[in-house]
Symmetry: C2
Amino acid sequence: MDQDQLELSSNLARQLRVDSIRCSTSAGSGHPTSSLSAADLMAVLLVGHLRYDWDRPDLPGNDHLIFSKGHASPLLYSMYRAVGVVNADELINTYRRLGARLAGHPTPALPWVDVATGSLGQGLPDAVGIALAGKYLDELDYHSWVLCGDSETAEGSIWKALDKASYYKLGNLTAIVDINRLGQRGPTELQWDLERYAARVQAFGARAIVIDGHDLEAIDAALGQGREGTDQPTVILARTIKAKGVPELEDKNGWHGKALPPDMAERAIKVLGGATDLRISSPSPADGQVEPAIRPDPGAKIDLPVFELGEKVATRVAFGAAIAALAARPEIVVVDGEVGNSTHAEDFGAVCPERYFQMFIAEQQLVASAVGLAVRGYIPFASTFAVFFSRAFDFIRMAGISRANIRLVGSHAGVEIGEDGPSQMALEDLASLRAVFGSVVLYPGDATCTAALTATMADTRGIVYLRTTRGAYPVIYPAGEAFPIGGSKVHHAAPGDQVALIGAGVTLHECLAAAKELGGLGIQARVIDAYSIKPIDRDALVEACMATGSRLVVVEDHYPEGGLGSAVLEALADASVPALNIAHLAVQSLPTSGKPAELLDAAGISSRHIVAAARKLAGQ
Amino acid sequence: MDQDQLELSSNLARQLRVDSIRCSTSAGSGHPTSSLSAADLMAVLLVGHLRYDWDRPDLPGNDHLIFSKGHASPLLYSMYRAVGVVNADELINTYRRLGARLAGHPTPALPWVDVATGSLGQGLPDAVGIALAGKYLDELDYHSWVLCGDSETAEGSIWKALDKASYYKLGNLTAIVDINRLGQRGPTELQWDLERYAARVQAFGARAIVIDGHDLEAIDAALGQGREGTDQPTVILARTIKAKGVPELEDKNGWHGKALPPDMAERAIKVLGGATDLRISSPSPADGQVEPAIRPDPGAKIDLPVFELGEKVATRVAFGAAIAALAARPEIVVVDGEVGNSTHAEDFGAVCPERYFQMFIAEQQLVASAVGLAVRGYIPFASTFAVFFSRAFDFIRMAGISRANIRLVGSHAGVEIGEDGPSQMALEDLASLRAVFGSVVLYPGDATCTAALTATMADTRGIVYLRTTRGAYPVIYPAGEAFPIGGSKVHHAAPGDQVALIGAGVTLHECLAAAKELGGLGIQARVIDAYSIKPIDRDALVEACMATGSRLVVVEDHYPEGGLGSAVLEALADASVPALNIAHLAVQSLPTSGKPAELLDAAGISSRHIVAAARKLAGQ
């Protein structure tokens, strides 16, 4: 940057500080002091380094800017004002108000925000996904810049992210750590020990650049180095002062997350030189880099695998075959958590290694990479054992707030996994993932259904979760059968049905066996395959209640709370159906190891138990 | 160790290998190759360093041994056989069988296992909690030894754990990393790059000792250094060979998690010299160190805070006052996630800094520390914002399998938090935490109830979760009122009730306001305060259904799935009550920022909406 630009940056930094104070004081809450510490860093970035066409936020060549420290939203929104996409009125008078897009923490309700942040330690992992897309898929020169707080370096996810950034040689990623020494309730663990920060960063394979975060020339040099062409991600460790620019608050504990009272704000703004109306033009994305190397082809012909009726196929195997077929669509990407040979995600890697990313055993990064890839329009399928998505639950929750389009495939769910024991059983995944905003939860019972749902979920918006099974079970649906989201399959329905058996996945087969046995006992039972657990097929449930006098047996390989049973009940809570008479069979005690069939039986969810429950409901 | 001990170790290592093969081949599954790589490490540990009285696993002075790589259970159980607490019959014929305590991954069903492992990256964080107890509370000389896999170093939680171990100067902790180069589906990220491992370990403040993990003398020296008196935790980085001792499988990919077929097992055992019956005596815990410095005093007099009826008090404030009062019990410990000034956990720290541990922003370590402290019999209260327990969900799940006694207190739950926006709102915590095995979920509506529940939860076994509220609401219960787990409080009940309003926490106040308004409209409504969400007061719900014709309005500050609404429905699924006619008011869309009252209203869970729903149910 030349002297003019440095002077502009200096003036901009002042304006960003003033605006950060103005909007938070007007709102009566927010994090001005955490914004002020990073104002110089962001001013130089905006004036000289962030290549971004603010009128065209969807431009493929735009850089990406993520505030991993999302609480510094006053600073981010003040930057938006400085580039002219948010005006002073919106900034000052809507920030943190009901319905406003300038929320307390950034969300993609704003077109310039890639991902929702505010749960610390997630912005950098998300950016790794974007940088992966940039380097390996888009093949564009955009750079991803991430503003991190120092407190959030206590989250392990930051180190996982750097590790993967280094492993994938993401020189197109720069993290800027605003080391202002003070967390919410007092000093951070490392305070201003920049050397220790640098040692950690280097040990995890990134280039560390230590600077004074208020020295504009040093910032400019560091950001320039960040973009410049090594194969290493860069971490700028910026020593800063919390509340910098407001002398009475600088480096003072007790002011985290507090707006300045109006009188103090007035004094501060005066010291800073008053409100200004600088208008900044960021550098433009370079010409000739606007088209990503990969173009989506949602209409590509997909030859889904076909399975013979009666053939025994594990649904995880069917997923593998289907996702491999989906490789024909260039926008489909698969991310593995070092278990691709078990989940069968590696079947995709075998046919399409260039869109298959290994995240090793780092499930938070697995999900974050998917979120980042989705930012760039890819359709990522992230897969691991169902149970290990619990490790990334906060990331999945935040992906819901981001309205990210990601696909999660969890294999080896339930007691059915057998000998490995309870630590490997997902017995709470349906509950937790149903509760994620905008989620879809699918649990197919056979290979045909799995393949069809795998294809369908590619084009289903939101957080779409597919639960697959370890063991092999008979194919029960013919090729070509349709499995819409929100649908179900009803077996053996007849007007005189005395009871309905509702299962999904592995318990569907138990229900089918039970229905057969019940038939022999003279009890007419229909079976509902609730492959779509969220949304669930309410019409089929209501119809079953009307037919059977609401005598239902709901069977699930999951703990009793929040899973299929709850989904059924929630759907019927306000339905005009006969009084409910539901037997809910679920895993009630802590399972041990054992063979799958033994464990299903010990948990009380095998056909034998279903038959007994149905007989009781039918009064026989 | 002397030459005899080294020779004994060598023979023991052979036996551990043979037994690991025998039990897994007999089971037909398991991880023998991952056991063989660490057999030399564990043999030397057992012969010369692990101070443990195997007949008295509860002895306070015993060392602790945690297999963070829980899949190496064949090795662990073979060690148990070598010290004589498990016999050959149990080892060979029950491993991985239904109901057996020798499960696929270790659980505390075995008295020598402190915590369940099998979800990688958790054993070391748990051990940090044990080591904290040893150094700061028990003041005993026991050492915690953790066997880690190399794959699991990809989990950020490992680095958080080392960081906290270093911060707290836990020289009483040694991690032994079995770097066998091969993960489940192929090479690990760093393979045998021991230098990079060492740089990371050192950067995170631990002492790194690099050794050949099959050199018994080197192992002995490293373990000795591990115990010896620095203030630094030790990480022994042991270069090992997967399947070491079975030439045809050594360092060979494709053999992770596979039992040797019988013929191969036979050959391997022959090469290893056949089955033996060595019986090892571990070193004893030193005399004079058997009594911990802190003795529990469950009967200590607790002066719970008293609140005036009508006074406005936030339940998080009431929690702070109550937990500070509980400091009178020496077994109560509080762990903070750098938000103690918001959760009011710091009120405990103010009166009892010696039992208040800061984990900074590392929620997984927050929960793991609690688990480790509970291993030593302490009653840990871990608290952060409710939403951030989602970051530690897998740890909480595993704590359920460990049957750990931990207390979780989450503040700032629901849209009620206001301006900070959705990233800070816990709108899925009730769903996810209800689904944890053995959990109790509490959500008090006022300060009196909160204080009483805080005291009660101290003595409630399992994973006990308390959800507190940001804002201040009127005290509605007099001091001394009883709030049993599984109970509820029914307000305004009368025989002619037309509708029941069911709320908890913040929505209780909305229900009470609605009932008043409904009364003015001539609609008689009872209100149920469901402060105990799991277990829920089924009797009160059934009675309300009988009184009102099952006309219920259930209102919760949570997404619709899996929370209070589901808890109510699950309780009524098989009850003989009139056909359900339930209005379920929950947060249906993604909230923005706003004022608490505005957000409750916008989400459709304010008294206005409750009144409308109740009128509809009452046909008015």
